[in-house]
């Protein structure tokens, strides 16, 4: 199983960089994961999405899809793509330290 190091913490991740143990995540790690993903400093809107993803995961056991994320957070999909280019649900899930959103089957 691969690992990644954020803020001097060794984290177990899957092949795509998603945390395999979400309990290893703390808010301090988020800026480092974002930097490693090429995002730069997280702004307030991005933080809102990351915290929202985390809360959804803790409540339901899974991260939301982009559609559900847009409907529940009130941030339109277009803006979500501006905040997290190349796939908001996946990138925000990685930064929030939760597994890859399963999508639907």
């Amino acid at each position: 199983m691969p690992t990644a190091t954020y803020a001097a913490h060794e984290i177990a991740v899957d092949d795509e960089g998603f945390f395999t143990d979400p309990s290893q995540w703390t808010e301090q790690l988020a800026p480092e994961i974002a930097r490693a993903a090429g995002l730069g400093e997280l702004n307030e809107r991005q933080w809102r999405v990351v915290r929202f993803m985390r809360a959804q995961y803790e409540q339901t056991g899974a991260g939301p899809s982009v559609r559900a994320l847009a409907k529940a957070s009130g941030i339109p999909i277009k803006e979500l793509y501006e905040l997290f280019p190349k796939g908001p649900a996946k990138l925000a899930a990685r930064i929030a330290g939760i597994p890859k959103p399963r999508g639907c089957i």
Partner: protein
């Protein structure tokens, strides 16, 4: 009038089933058979036309006519089941009352929500207008749409055909792939395949959600010369410039786009606070199918928010569990019947062949045979699977909807006849799976 007790001392419990499609019809028929006179079963649906939805895939290619696919809803219900034709306005959970648009409200002891998924093309910029224009943007996810597409394909003599899923969840997630395979066959048959470029554009990062099946299906796309565009989350459909644009700014130009619109649950679910998720699908326990907010409410089929496919086979396998748990609820017993996420899809691959996949919440589609070691081949193209799919249509009307079990097939996913692709993991699946 709703009863005060759930414990079955009342002579007749009132069960209201919302939706007379696959899930609602088979649930009502099974409830009637299981509970007999101890329950009064009412089915509510806004229309009286039951469409055999697996048949929609074949309409665009002229292999099925619309008239062959529809029957009156009420005729599919056993004697003694009441049918009410009306749109549902909302459900009042505390009062145990369903409010209807064109019928007095109905009280219930147990409510079964089976209102499926609805297409919402207006949630994608430009799509509703492009579909209405009926020019180069079509869908086969409705009967009218499939018929219009049949006419458009008939007149099509070459160019770029893009098959696109706007986003998930959708009904029968393999159907758009099947459409690609059948289109390849269709254009070959017409002798114009060399003039047609075929592209499959999906919001997923692979051809399908399940990795083992995704690999097999991606190989098939490649062999049939169908281009795969992944991570394409459709933002805009432009029916006059003939382009699809993704949210991350990629543009695809088409001569004919076959688009699967977004799906939501029924409006009344969203309008009945607490009942559903953001998209209007009913939140239920994935094993008991009971609502997470009200013990008297259950959901079956596409209407339920489950980590399973929205597919008729799922509704069928859920039926037995749902009815047993409702019987138990009425008798005051714990709900011990459990749905395992069993899903079973015949995937048409063109030229009279199909492959079959079978999986559940915990197990990926595996190669082998179904339902046992002498059954139909899994994850492999075969004539037998295509025949299985054809045979399914009469079984749908005469076995599945009436609520009978298919011979030899229970609700739980069978493991006999399967072999795991990873030899290390084989021992964890159980006995009988070692056949190579």
């Amino acid at each position: 009038m709703a009863h005060d007790s759930i414990n079955g001392e009342s002579a007749s419990a009132r069960i209201v089933v919302l939706g007379g499609g696959t899930g609602g019809t088979l649930a009502a028929n099974r409830l009637r058979r299981s509970l007999g006179a101890s329950a009064r079963v009412t089915v509510v649906d806004q229309g009286d036309r039951h469409v055999y939805q697996p048949g929609l895939l074949f309409v665009p290619f002229g292999h099925r006519r619309a008239a062959e696919l529809t029957r009156p809803r009420a005729d599919q219900l056993r004697g003694g089941i009441e049918f009410v034709q009306s749109r549902v306005d909302r459900v009042d959970l505390p009062a145990r009352m369903v409010h209807l648009a064109t019928h007095p409200p109905i009280g219930y002891d147990v409510l079964v929500i089976a209102t499926g998924a609805v297409l919402v093309p207006d949630e994608t910029e430009g799509l509703a207008a492009a579909l209405a224009a009926g020019k180069d943007v079509h869908t086969f996810y409705s009967l009218d749409g499939a018929q219009a597409l049949a006419r458009r394909l008939d007149a099509f003599d070459g160019g770029h055909v893009i098959v696109n899923i706007v986003d998930l969840p959708i009904k029968c997630p393999v159907a758009p792939l099947e459409f690609c395979f059948l289109a390849d066959s269709y254009f070959r048959h017409r002798g114009i395949r060399d003039r047609v470029r075929l592209t499959y554009a999906t919001p997923l990062d692979a051809a399908f959600t399940k990795p083992v099946a995704a690999k097999e299906l991606a190989g098939l796309l490649q062999r049939k010369d169908i281009e795969l565009v992944t991570d394409f989350s459709t933002g805009t459909v432009d029916g006059s410039r003939n382009t699809l644009t993704s949210f991350d700014g990629r543009e695809l130009r088409f001569d004919l786009a076959v688009v699967v619109p977004l799906h939501n649950g029924a409006d009344f679910v969203t309008d009945s606070a607490g009942l559903g998720d953001e998209l209007g699908f009913v939140t239920v326990d994935p094993h008991t199918l009971q609502s997470t907010v009200d013990e008297r409410v259950f959901a079956i089929g596409d209407a339920a928010a489950l980590p399973a496919s929205k597919a008729g086979s799922v509704a069928h396998f859920e039926g037995e569990v749902l009815v047993e748990n409702i019987r138990r609820l009425l008798a005051g017993e714990p709900l011990t019947a459990r749905f395992d996420g069993h899903t079973n899809c015949f995937v048409e691959t063109g030229a009279g062949k199909a492959l079959l996949i079978d999986f559940n919440y915990d197990t990926e589609p595996q190669p082998g045979r179904y339902p046992n070691s002498v059954g139909m081949p899994l994850l492999r193209e075969a004539r037998l699977n295509h025949l299985g799919k054809l045979l399914f249509q009469p079984l749908y009307w005469h076995v599945l909807l009436p609520g009978h079990d298919l011979p030899g097939l229970g609700s739980a996913m069978p493991v006999r006849g399967k072999r795991n692709s990873s030899p290390r993991a084989a021992s964890s699946i159980g006995a009988g799976n070692t056949k190579g």
